[in-house]
């Protein structure tokens, strides 16, 4: 067989697509749907950012008010709870290993949970 035979066979048998007048309309509808989802996601993100900003500003204002009040009305610290503090210190010293392991376990769990969290639309 000649090399050109298969070339001309393939070129002569180029597939013909079925007439589909709604093809581009359907594509456009899908694109508009995608646009709608993108806008909604952007809106949610903006709202999240705004909430974070409000919480941050509120925290600073409340902290400043608390500091101003503490400076305006100073009080003597009570030194009566020394026994309670020493009890806590003794307890911590006795169970230091278990407490540190618990803290490490908790921190690992939180970091894994945050790392695997999926964003939902």
């Amino acid at each position: 067989m000649k090399e050109n035979d298969i070339d001309s066979y393939l070129r002569a048998n180029r597939p013909q697509i079925k007439d589909n007048p709604t093809f581009l309309l359907e594509v456009e509808q899908k694109m508009r749907a995608v646009d709608g989802i993108k806008k909604e996601v952007d809106r949610q993100r903006k709202r999240g950012r705004l909430t974070m900003t409000v919480v941050f500003v509120a925290g600073i204002i409340l902290g400043a008010i608390a500091l101003a009040l503490a400076l305006a009305f100073p009080t003597e610290p009570k030194l009566t709870d020394v026994s309670l503090l020493s009890q806590l210190k003794d307890y911590f010293e006795a169970h230091a290993e278990a407490l540190l392991v618990s803290v490490a376990f908790g921190a690992s769990f939180i970091s894994i949970a945050l790392g695997t969290r999926k964003e939902s639309l």
Partner: protein
């Protein structure tokens, strides 16, 4: 980019894109159109990242080919189909003629490895250059030439 502007851009490309996918899907035009629409929507979403380093049509074909590969990798549903294979699906008399005309070709193409099949289709059905085919299939130009040569031999054995 607005949907209208994107539709204007793809208006001239959609026919060859659909034909390429039709050949890849063994003549199943419903499946080919579904993949084409999926590819065009993906292209629209990613249109902001198109840097113009390659031709727009090449970029579209690459996305379409990746969509087709994704579709092929999806596990088949556990259903026993009572329908004939895609290459034999016939909806009307005109389509029957068309389907039978291409059936032999589709079956021969179906037997080729994916990259070989895609290289043959892009070169002979879409008249694309070796450089463009290499960009679409993301393989070196020399490999495209190799696939074309081997693919031609395979098809010659099956068709002629």
């Amino acid at each position: 980019m607005s949907p209208e502007r994107f539709i204007d851009l793809i208006r001239n490309e959609q026919e060859s894109l659909r034909r390429f996918l039709l050949a890849l899907c063994g003549g199943d035009d419903d499946l080919a159109d579904d993949i084409a629409q999926d590819a065009l929507v993906r292209a629209y979403v990613a249109s902001g990242s198109f840097l113009g380093l390659s031709k727009f049509s090449t970029w579209l074909f690459r996305i379409a080919y990746n969509c087709y590969i994704d579709h092929r990798r999806k596990p088949e549903p556990d259903l026993i189909s009572v329908e004939s294979p895609p290459a034999l699906n016939i909806h009307s008399e005109d389509e029957a003629d068309l389907t039978f005309r291409y059936q032999k070709l589709y079956l021969a193409l179906e037997s080729l490895p994916e990259k070989e099949k895609a290289a043959i289709m892009l070169h002979y059905f879409e008249d694309l250059s070796i450089k463009d085919i290499a960009a679409i299939l993301q393989i070196p130009a020399g490999t495209v030439k190799y696939h074309l040569s081997i693919g031609r031999n395979h098809l010659r054995d099956k068709l002629l």
